[in-house]
Each structure stands twice: as C-alpha cells, then as structure tokens.
C-alpha cells in the first residue's frame, strides 16, 4: 500500500503534514484529511482529486456554459455541439475533466451514443445531493 495513502474501508485518503505528524486513534475513524475516492469495481475519484487534476495545465478539459453545466450536474451527458471550449483535442475514448467557470464539476468519456458524439457523464458534483438521498 502506498504509505502516502490511508485506507478506511474502501475509501482512500491522503493526510497533510500536520495530520501525518499526529498519532491518532483508528477506532471509529471514518474519514481523514483529503478524500481521494473509493474502490468500487474500479477506483472512483472524489471531488478533491478532480480539483487537483484541474489545477494541472496539461489535463484534458472541456468547458461548458451555465445551462449545459447545470444539465451535466443533473447527471446528463454533454452533446459535442454544447461544448463551449476544449483544452487539447477531442479523441473518441478519451477521458476529460468537465469544467465550469474555471472549476471542475465532474468528468466523462468522449464517445459515440446512437450516432451522436457526447461526453458521457461518469461523475458529477450533483452526486453530493444524490448521496444525501440514498445515505
């Protein structure tokens, strides 16, 4: 296991220097430091790791206007025509961070669905509200 990554059940976290220095009890611990994501069938990243990736210059990003961004956080895919701007080039099968107003609101894969090219929604921040309903 990567010593920089703390596992709690199936969730992965990373600790800042101040938390790393501290000896803390693991009994009853459910969350620590920065949440990275969780192991489902594959690793599913959480919001903080997406914000970190968005801060990198060379990550692939698509930018949306407010109306399209709202549909995306409601779980919808994004038609190619509704993408406002692309950083790098769109390649079928490629994964892209989905951006609104300079911040990451999720990510998806560029693919063809029923003959139409879309960013398939793989994760969006509307998940926070959906989790509240299902928790």
């Amino acid at each position: 296991m990567d010593p920089e990554v703390l596992m709690i059940d199936s969730k992965r976290f990373t600790l800042n220097q101040e938390l790393k220095r501290r000896q803390f009890s693991r009994k009853g611990l459910v969350y620590a430091g920065t949440y990275l994501g969780w192991n489902k069938r594959l690793f599913e990243p959480g919001s903080p790791i997406l914000q970190m990736l968005a801060a990198e210059e060379n990550t692939r990003k698509v930018h949306l206007d407010r109306d399209t961004a709202w549909l995306f956080v409601c779980g919808r895919d994004v038609f190619e025509d509704n993408i406002e701007r692309v950083e790098s080039v769109l390649e079928l099968g490629g994964h892209y961070l989905v951006m609104f107003d300079g911040r990451c609101i999720g990510y998806g894969r560029f693919e063809t669905s029923a003959g139409i090219r879309v960013i398939r929604n793989l994760f969006d921040l509307g998940d926070f509200l959906r989790r509240e309903d299902s928790d």
């Binding site: 101040e18 938390l19 459910v30 609104f100 911040r103 609101i105 921040l125 509307g126 926070f128 509200l129």
Partner: protein, 300 residues
C-alpha cells in the same frame, strides 16, 4: 371547547419566556442565510457571481462571512456554486458559535456533536485548513452528511469519528472544543415545535447535555476553551447547565458580546452566579434569528 396539546404547550412555553423577560408571539421567523466558504473563494468573488444570478444578499453585520438571502429565483441548496462548495446554507445565529470560538491554524480542535458539519466546515475555514480538527458524531446517517460536507467544502484538516464522544479516548487533549449540544430546539426553525415538545423533553435533554459537558471538560487541555451552544430557549439546557458546570468542574466563563442579551442570572425565582451573565442569548424577537445560547468556558 377542546384545546389541542399544541395550543396548551404553546401557552405554557410562551408564559415561561414572558417570565424570563420576553413577550414572544410564537410566530417569529428567521430568514434564510448563507455563509461564504473562504477555503474555496472570497466573499467578493462569490457575491459577484450570485448577484449576477439575480440573488439579493445582505451582509449580517455581526458575522464575518454570513449573508441573509433577501431574494432568489431558485433553491440555493441546489446550485452549481453550492455543489462546488463555494457557500453553505447556515442559520445566522448558528454561525456565531464557531465565530466566537475562533479556532486558528495552531489549534487542536474537537467538534463533539459535529454532524451534519456546518460548524465543522466553518471552523476548518477559520483554521485555514491547517492544524487538526477532530469531528465526532454518534449518528452514522448524519456522519455520512458530515463527510459529504467536508468533501464538498474542500476541508483537508479533519479526522472524523463515528461513536459516542462521552466514552471515547481520542489520545490527545484539545486547545478548543465546540459542543453544539443536541437540544430541544426551538419553534423558529421548526414550525411544529409546540406540538412535539414538553418540559419532560427539556429535562431529559439537560441531563444528556451535562454528560456531554463533563466529557468536553475532560477532552480539554488546562487553559483550553469550550464553546457550548444550543438552539434551545429553555434555561434548563442553558444557564442552569452552566451553573451546574461551574459547581462541578474547575472552570470559568469568559464574556461573549454580540446581538441579543447576556445570559440570565435569575431563572424562575432561582438566583444564579453573576458569572452566568458572561454567556449570551439570541432572543428571536430581538435578533430576528432562531433562539440560541452560547457560553465560553475556560478550563482552569
């Protein structure tokens, strides 16, 4: 004529408040308020965005980052900016608790009844996401909401525990503790309150709060500060608990300023220590907020 339990209770509690010096109607309201998340944005930046969406906000003069929502065309709990963690929905009086404790980056902080995390995320912002912020709650469902809030708001300095904080050994002593205790609540934020609550509930909650207060003092380092708060108007859960604390623990109360009034030193004919006046009350008729009580306890 048949009088409902709700009407009987309402009269009973309003009579008590009158005896404490306040003629409340039982219909006071508090406007929706939001708190800007300085971990992720500045007040100016998010104000500009929200204003462009025709949301009218007014700054709450006694709060660092709190704004009353005067007008909005959509639910502020379901906007892209909310999902990005740029602000949180939080009642004005409740923002005053973490602001009064004012933890900083050098503190080791314990939030004892933390879920769903409004005050936890607020304290993380005061701490600049540094130091160590322990958050505990006994209710697993509410802890999920706490975890979501920490992730949404970009909090990186917290350790979250699920369990009963009164029996928990966390392996450290804390420079600051927030005990926003489970309480009877108040009618301002709960329209059916008078139909649900009785004086027996108030006494039962006061007992639970005393157990939590003892645990809070145990978790504090000498010289450390406990901020005790409830959203109850009932003196049994507030001033009378502070009187009990001063008699049973080595501690004193520091003065809290702000809107509202000093804590009561005479409750239903019982004279309390003058020191209790250092605590603070938000009365809904004065502050246009929910009822709220705060006390700043320093461990000797």
């Amino acid at each position: 004529m048949v009088v409902s339990r709700e009407e009987t209770n309402k009269q009973f509690f309003l009579d008590r408040y009158r005896e404490l010096g306040h003629r409340l109607t039982g219909d006071e309201k508090t406007p929706q308020a939001i708190r800007m998340n300085t971990i992720k944005t500045s007040d100016a930046e998010i104000m500009e965005t929200l204003t462009s969406l025709d949301i009218k906000l007014t700054i709450v003069p006694y709060l660092d980052h709190g704004y009353v929502v005067e007008e909005s065309r959509f639910s502020l709990g379901a906007s892209i900016e909310y999902l990005l963690g740029l602000y949180s929905l939080q009642e004005s009086a409740s923002m005053y608790a973490a602001q009064t404790l004012a933890p900083n980056s050098g503190d080791t902080v314990l939030d004892m009844c933390a879920a769903p995390g409004g005050k936890t995320t607020q304290m993380a912002a005061y701490m600049g996401n540094r130091g160590q912020l322990y958050a505990v709650d006994v209710d697993r469902r509410r802890v999920y909401a706490l975890e979501n809030n920490l992730e949404r708001c970009g909090v990186m300095n917290s350790l979250v525990y699920h369990g009963d904080v009164t029996g928990m050994e966390l392996g450290t002593r804390f420079s600051k503790v927030l005990l926003d205790a489970p309480c009877s609540g108040n009618y301002v934020t709960d329209p059916g309150w008078f139909g649900k609550r009785s004086i027996e509930d108030v006494h039962r909650n006061a007992e639970i709060q005393r157990r939590l207060l003892s645990a809070a003092v145990r978790h504090l380092e000498p010289g450390g500060t406990l901020l005790y708060s409830t959203c109850s108007l009932e003196p049994e859960e507030n001033e009378l608990n502070m009187e009990w604390l001063l008699r049973n623990h080595e501690a004193f109360l520091e003065e809290i300023d702000g809107p509202g009034e000093k804590g009561l030193t005479e409750v239903f004919g019982q004279r309390l220590s003058e020191e209790i006046s250092n605590s603070h009350r938000f009365w809904p008729n004065m502050t246009h907020t929910q009822g709220f009580f705060l006390a700043k306890v320093v461990k000797k």
